[in-house]
Every structure is written in structure tokens, then in C-alpha cells.
């Protein structure tokens, strides 16, 4: 509970301004908290007269947190291919492991994945826990969860990282729940606190308008899903040595309640916009399916892919798989060119962490310009063909 000491409170309103949730107001010279309070603690830190205090009841504390050691990465694979994010996780995992002076291990589950194990060692892993079994060839929440939970209980790693992908975000929360472990979703920053070796996990909240840093003080393992394309993979080092541990998985863990009848690969889904470094996105201003040809041409010229705002998807100009924003995908490419997109918050939350944002819009007051790195105000039907042409010429030089 948030306790407010009215004797100490001077009614200055600093905490009111600090609260991201609008849960504090100053009434009759003293701060008052309402039910929206999430106990995030920002107000406590902001108070200069120490009038605020968060009182915790009996906390669930795990006794043996010092027995947990090592950094683990869940190396996602699908149809025998390792997902890119796995290498990115090994990149950041390597740093964390070095800082902690512990091993970096990868858990690789699938069917026919044995030959991929060395690539994970080259990417930074010291040890691979390999579960190569025909049953694991088809991803299912329950069996992947069973196997990972079993391994974690046995080996007791202090940290587990997984990609914030369709797969990572579906079964990892169940595993964390079953272990009573803390899990932070969709992290964009990970660091070790020097004083106590705690994992600090930073993630965007409110669609990236605020950032929150989260820790798991009393429990292990510390678990996080990490947004693809944020962390840097290491340069593969084929000389690196590592150990591959083939798992003998008890049969009961591989009994699934879920039956996979079919995997349907969709043509337009073959390109996952979350994994692409250059995205050219079209919005309402593109005006038609035909207009998206211009978007596509520019994207092709840049070696990128096409994205879209909800307005364009709802108009049927382009399939949903391309939608960026709150009800679509969250992307963070190196370059994002927004064409004819006004940049409403629902769109912005899905792309504002891109490295460079270029806005092309005829309305100079469009909010997209507020988050853009650079922009041109004008008619996109003139600008885009010209831009495509000039880029082509430039590349030819």
C-alpha cells in the first residue's frame, strides 16, 4: 500500500506530476492516492520531504536464490531453422554472462536441429542443451513448456532470455508462472546491476511513451522476453569451443494435449516485418491498392519490405500481416519511411523505436513529424517515384 504521511506532506504536487497513472492528486494540501495506483514507486522517489512510503506485506521470498547461476537463452527454431532473434539474445547474453562470470547456455528444441547447434556456439554460447526429438518438431505450448520447466528446475539458471516472438510470448509466460518466477515482456534493454548482480530489465510501457526498469528481487530465475532487432548478435566465431548436451527427455513431458493438423505458410507472411531492417510504410494518404505499388517500389529499391498503418489495412489495400501499431506489429527497423501516415499514437507506438524515421506527408502539422528524424512535406505521389529513382541512380554510382 502507498502510505501518505499528511504531517510531512506539504502539498507541493511534485508526486502528482510524477505519477504516470494519474493516481495521485493533492486535495486540501495533502496528496491523496486512488485506486489506479500500481505501486510503481515513482512518487516515493520524487518526494522531497519523504512523505510517501510503500508498505509491503509479507512477500513471497525464495530462500535459495544464490543457488541459481548461469545465463540461458531459449534458442527458438521453426521448421528446423534457427530464428534470428536467438543470435541476438546470445549477443546480449554473452555480455551478461561475462559480467556475472558465469556460463552462457542455449536451449535448442526441435526436430533435426542437431546440426544447428554449432552455430549457437559460434554465436557465443558455452553450452547447448539440445532436445532433438520428432515430437518437438511441431511447436506446442505444453510440451515446450514442460521441457523447459523441467530443465530449469534441474539446472537452476539465474537468467532466462527468450525472443518476444509469437512462440516466445506464448509459452514462456506459462513457464514463468509455473516456476513462480518474474517475467518481463518485450524488453529493449538488459543490464546487470554491479552492486548485487541483479538483472535490470527495461521495457517500454504505454506504447513507448514511458520506459520502465524492472527487477526480480526475491525470486529466481529472472526471466525476460526480448524484442527482436534490438540486441546485437556477435560476429560468428567458428573457432569457439562449446559443449553440446543431448537431453534425455522423459516421455511424459512430450505428451501434448494439442494436436497440430497443419502449418500454413502464407505468401504475404513470408516476410516478417519485425525482422526487416528497412521498412517503407503506407497509410491513408497512399489512397489505394495501386498506391501501394509506389511503396513497394521504394521498399524494393532499399532492399526492405512494405508496412502499413491500420487505415490502409482496414481499407483492404494490404493484408493485416503488414500492419504496424497497437493492433498490429511492433517493429524497430534501422530505417522506417512513413508515407501518407499521419502518425496517430496507435501507429506511433508500433514504430517509434526505429533508428531513423522519415516522414513524407502533405500535412505539415501531421503528428508523424514530431517523431520523425527527418521529413518532407508534400505530395507523396510526386515524392516517392522521385525518391525511388534517385536512390536507384545513387546505388548505380
Amino acid at each position: 500500500m502507498l502510505i501518505i504521511d499528511c504531517e510531512k506532506c506539504i502539498g507541493c504536487g511534485v508526486c502528482e506530476a510524477e505519477c504516470a497513472f494519474g493516481a495521485i492528486s493533492v486535495q486540501d494540501g495533502c496528496a491523496v492516492v486512488d485506486d489506479n495506483c500500481t505501486l510503481c514507486g515513482s512518487c516515493v522517489e520524487s518526494c522531497e520531504v519523504e512523505a510517501l512510503l510503500i508498505e509491503e506485506g509479507a512477500v513471497q521470498v525464495q530462500a535459495d536464490i544464490n543457488d541459481w547461476s548461469g545465463i540461458w537463452v531459449f534458442a527458438e527454431s521453426r521448421h528446423g531453422k534457427i530464428a534470428e532473434v536467438s543470435y541476438e539474445l546470445l549477443g546480449v547474453g554473452r555480455k551478461l554472462a561475462n559480467q556475472r562470470g558465469v556460463q552462457l547456455s542455449a536451449v535448442l528444441l526441435g526436430s533435426g536441429v542437431t546440426e544447428s547447434a554449432p552455430t549457437l556456439i559460434a554465436a557465443g554460447a558455452d553450452k547447448i542443451y539440445l532436445g532433438d526429438d520428432s515430437t518437438l518438431g511441431q511447436y506446442r505450448e505444453d510440451i515446450y513448456g514442460n521441457v523447459l520447466e523441467f530443465l530449469i528446475k534441474k539446472e537452476k539458471p539465474e537468467v532466462i532470455l527468450a525472443g518476444a516472438t509469437a512462440i516466445g510470448r506464448s509459452f514462456i509466460p506459462m513457464v514463468a508462472n509455473n516456476l513462480g518466477a518474474g517475467l518481463t515482456a518485450d524488453c529493449t534493454g538488459l543490464a546487470i546491476r554491479a552492486e548485487d548482480g541483479m538483472l535490470l530489465q527495461t521495457r517500454p510501457a504505454f506504447g513507448g511513451n514511458i520506459m520502465a526498469t524492472i527487477e526480480c528481487p526475491h525470486t529466481r530465475p529472472q526471466m525476460a522476453t526480448v524484442r527482436p532487432k534490438v540486441m546485437q548478435p556477435l560476429m560468428p566465431d567458428l573457432e569457439r569451443q562449446g559443449e553440446v548436451v543431448s537431453l534425455s527427455i522423459p516421455d511424459r513431458l512430450l505428451e501434448s494435449q494439442v494436436k497440430v493438423l497443419e502449418n500454413v505458410l502464407e505468401e504475404h507472411n513470408q516476410v516478417n516485418i519485425q525482422e526487416i531492417e528497412v521498412l517503407v510504410a503506407g497509410g491513408r494518404g497512399v489512397e489505394s491498392e495501386k498506391g501501394f505499388k509506389l511503396v513497394k517500389e521504394l521498399a524494393d529499391e532499399l532492399g526492405g519490405a512494405v508496412a502499413a498503418s491500420r487505415a490502409a489495412v482496414d481499407s483492404g489495400w494490404i493484408p493485416y500481416a503488414h500492419q504496424v501499431g497497437q493492433t498490429g506489429k511492433t517493429v524497430c527497423p534501422k530505417l522506417y519511411i512513413a508515407c501518407g501516415i499521419s502518425g496517430a499514437i496507435q501507429h506511433a507506438v508500433g514504430m517509434q523505436s526505429a533508428e531513423t524515421i522519415v516522414a513524407i506527408n502533405r500535412d505539415k502539422n501531421a503528428p508523424i513529424f514530431n517523431i520523425a528524424s527527418c521529413g518532407i512535406v508534400g505530395d507523396l505521389f510526386e515524392i516517392m517515384p522521385l525518391l525511388t529513382k534517385k536512390i536507384r541512380e545513387n546505388k548505380a554510382l
Binding site: 495506483c37 506446442r140 518485450d186 510501457a205 520502465a212 534501422k334 496507435q346 531513423t356 514530431n370 527527418c374
Partner: protein
Amino acid sequence: MNIIVCIKQVPDAKDVRLDPKTNTLAREGVESIMNPFDRHALEEGVRLKETHGGQVTALSMGPPQAESVLREAISCGADQGVLVSDRAFAGADTWATSYTLRKAIEASGEFDLILCGKQAIDGDTAQVGPGLAGQMKLPFVTCVQKIRNLDDGIIQVERMMDDGFDVLELPVPALLTVVKDINDPRVPSLKGKMKAKKATIKILSAADIGAEEQCIGLAGSPTRVVNVFTPAPRGDRKMFTGSLEEQVDQLVDQLRSYL
């Protein structure tokens, strides 16, 4: 076919914006709405009820004012609303929320299916659905884009993946989280609105659901927020000048490192 739909009340994203002066979230005029993904879960629940019979219960954990989203759920076809509300729940992370929802469901009787939105638009964690399935030891599938069939205790669904979709079968009782592709939610009927107005929302406290003190709210949360900050603003924005052609030239120059 008894269906529980989990619903969260969230701030409407279109109202959430940064106050350019203070660089904090501007809150004035921010309305609370039903989480958009949950609306699709509710619609799917109501459609299943219409085909297979049974009851739809809308369940929410939140402050007392979250009662309004449950009334809205009733106006859209839910039969009843249950609100789990207690100051003791404050500060709950996804673990403590999953636990609390489980206790509330256990206190509310039999069910065949639990439906949740894929994620809530304020926290964006997508963790409570799978966490609740873990709590309840239920088979589950996330990101369902279509329920193909429900027959003889077996439900057949399409689950959206990053490269297409999977067709899956699982036994009920089960838990599904849904994406917005699954349906177009209806607007409340006049009759529905009347019903919602008259409905009694059942309110359950921590004691009512027999929740253990150390498992709820901040105490029951393995995660702690240690810092909240505003992301560093982007460097100076460059707006090009000159004729359109000159501007495009400058842009190409700017993009050189990406070519």
C-alpha cells in the same frame, strides 16, 4: 458451453499523449475503455454461446470503476459480469494477476472455455492469458485468429504465427487468447443496453475468492518496477528545404548509410 471472458479496463490510447512541457503523460480527458483485444474475445464467446448454448461470464480484475466495462460486456451479449476488486490487489504484476483471476474463476463455478484478448494495450505484456492457463493447468493456444469447429469436447482453431498460421486441435476445457482478425465485434443493441443497465455486477474481494495474502498485489508479484522514465527524445529533426527535387536529394544524402 459455459464461457468466461477476461476483460481489462484500459486508458484509451488515442487520449494518451505526452505533455510537451513536462514530458510526462498528459492525463486530462483520458477515457477508460474496454481493452480492444478483449472486445474480440467477448464477441467470440457470445457467438459460441449463440451456436452451442450456455452462458458467457465477463470477468475483470480492477478498481471499482472497472464495473463499467462489465456492463458494456453485458450490453454486447455477456450474461453476467464479475468484478474482482480489492485495494489489496494494487501493484499486481502478471503473476499475481493470473493467480487472482484463477482464484476468482474457481470461486465462480464450472466452465468449458476461457477466452482472453491477446494482450492489453496499456501493458502490452500478453502474459496474463498464458499465465492463467499455467495457473489452472489448462491446455491453451495464444493468438487464435479463427475457431474452426467445436464438437464433442474438441475445439479446432487457427493460431497466427510469424510466418502464417497453424491449425490446432485441443480438448476443452481450454484457454484461448485471440487476435483482432477473429471477428468484427457487434455494437450493443438497445435491448442489450437496457439489460446492462439493470444488471447486478457481482463484486468479489480478496477474502471472497480465498486469495492468499502473500500471492496477491505487490507482495505476490515477483517483479518490481525500480524506475520509470521518459525515453530520451530524438535528436533534432531535420526538415528539408528548397524545391521538391532538392529536398529529395537531401533525403537521399541522409539515407546514404542505408543504401
